[in-house]
């Protein structure tokens, strides 16, 4: 069992019942990947699907691209951010 903390920002938080973050527990036999996290949160918050089409992700506060989600293994306690297009400045 692997539990990760998922952080929602901006439009992602709007789509995730206004949660700033939540814990997601994965029960895969083999080491779970970022894709498993994305699947889990989309099941919980169907409205996220639209947001995730343009969002980036962070894994322990480092950007990861949508193409790499299948390759990135997540461990217990990892911090995963849902990063809609940024608009700082």
């Amino acid at each position: 069992m692997v539990s990760v903390k998922v952080l929602y920002f901006a439009s992602a938080r709007d789509a995730a019942k206004n949660l700033e973050y939540e814990t997601v527990t994965l029960s895969e036999d083999t080491g779970p990947r970022m894709t498993s996290v994305v699947d889990a949160i989309t099941r919980r918050h169907p409205g996220l699907a639209a947001v995730l089409q343009t969002a980036a992700f962070s894994h322990n506060q480092v950007y990861c691209s949508g193409d790499d989600l299948e390759d990135i293994q997540v461990k217990d306690g990892d911090e995963i951010g849902i990063i809609p297009p940024v608009s700082g400045g």
Partner: protein
Amino acid sequence: PDYVPEHNKEASEAYDHFLISAEPLSLEAACSLVKSDAAGAVSSFEGTTRNTFNGKRVLRLEYEAYEPMAKKEWYGIVQEARSKYHLLSTVMHHRVGEVPVGKTSVIIAASSAHRADAINAVHFMIDSLKVRLPIWKKELLDDGSAMWKQNEHIDISVHK
């Protein structure tokens, strides 16, 4: 060529200042942080809340940040800036929470011995901030609508 003071190619919290704050930002304070007797040039950029968007009246902006990650990205931006430009000191200050019309949401500043380094570094740092820093703004208009903004596509590779 002219004498150029020693500088650090590594980002360091001794010379590179990062702040995310809900308090008003001060350009004077930011520039004071980068000034020194070895600097011949101080360049700065201030982003302020405009009163209109597509002809509609803007009431205010609301910013939020993923702070610990923003700090890591800031560090990467400064490392890159220092690899491109000969810099003495830098500042990146970003306000979060409500920012009323006319008020400052971001300040970038840099000092250098010669002017092109400071000017180009500030341009590079604000462009990089807009691409990389996990910060978001929601725009509230006087017709009651609100929307999360999205920065335009920026080509960072233009910065030599």
